[in-house]
Symmetry: C2
Subunit: 118 residues, 2 copies
């Protein structure tokens, strides 16, 4: 099962609404990078509102996909990070220094538009 | 597996990116109506760009969910309907008279905002 990726103007929107297994996470990584390449999107919003907890593998894939997206020229905003997810990310030392975060999808998109100067 | 439903301002966005089985379609119907109730959304965009074909059951569920959303006060826009899907919908006599359609997600959202007078 693949995670749907929506294109809205120059941004891609992804809402992760279930626990990811390893295979789905890797498929998502590949799909997202392909969609950035296809669409020329320069912004990505990943909404984690419905994710209650993540394990170390998923956290690493998430960190990786953010770095990879940046390399391809797309700025990533993570939205709706729940307390348990924030704890996991920090405790695992996942490097999210350069990633923007926002409370929800709307605010994430606003932040991205500001950041991209539009 | 559930279809993610994104909330953006007063609209819900859904992108269906794989063939639906009957169970998923019914789950989607229930989830969408619940989200309309929870969020008070008055617009819904269902993007079918990635759907190559649909069967009669899914077509009926789709027609039903549009009628149900209307009853709850939300206007539905279908976007990205492919030729084979359009053929199926018409040949099955699914009533989509009152539904708005648009080419893609952006145009669907624009249409919805116009329609809702915003």
């Amino acid at each position: 099962m693949r995670i749907p990726i929506l294109k809205l103007h120059n941004c891609l929107l992804i809402s992760i609404q279930w626990e990811l297994d390893d295979q789905t996470a890797l498929q998502f990584q590949e799909d997202l990078l392909n969609r950035i390449h296809e669409t020329g999107a320069n912004g990505v919003v990943i909404d984690l509102t419905s994710v209650d907890m993540i394990d170390s593998f998923i956290a690493k894939v998430l960190g990786d996909v953010i770095s990879m997206s940046k390399l391809m020229g797309a700025q990533v905003v993570l939205t709706g990070i729940q307390p348990a997810v924030a704890i996991t990310l920090v405790e695992l030392g996942i490097q999210l220094d350069e990633v923007f975060t926002a409370l929800d999808l709307e605010k994430g998109l606003e932040k991205l538009q500001q950041e991209l100067g539009e």
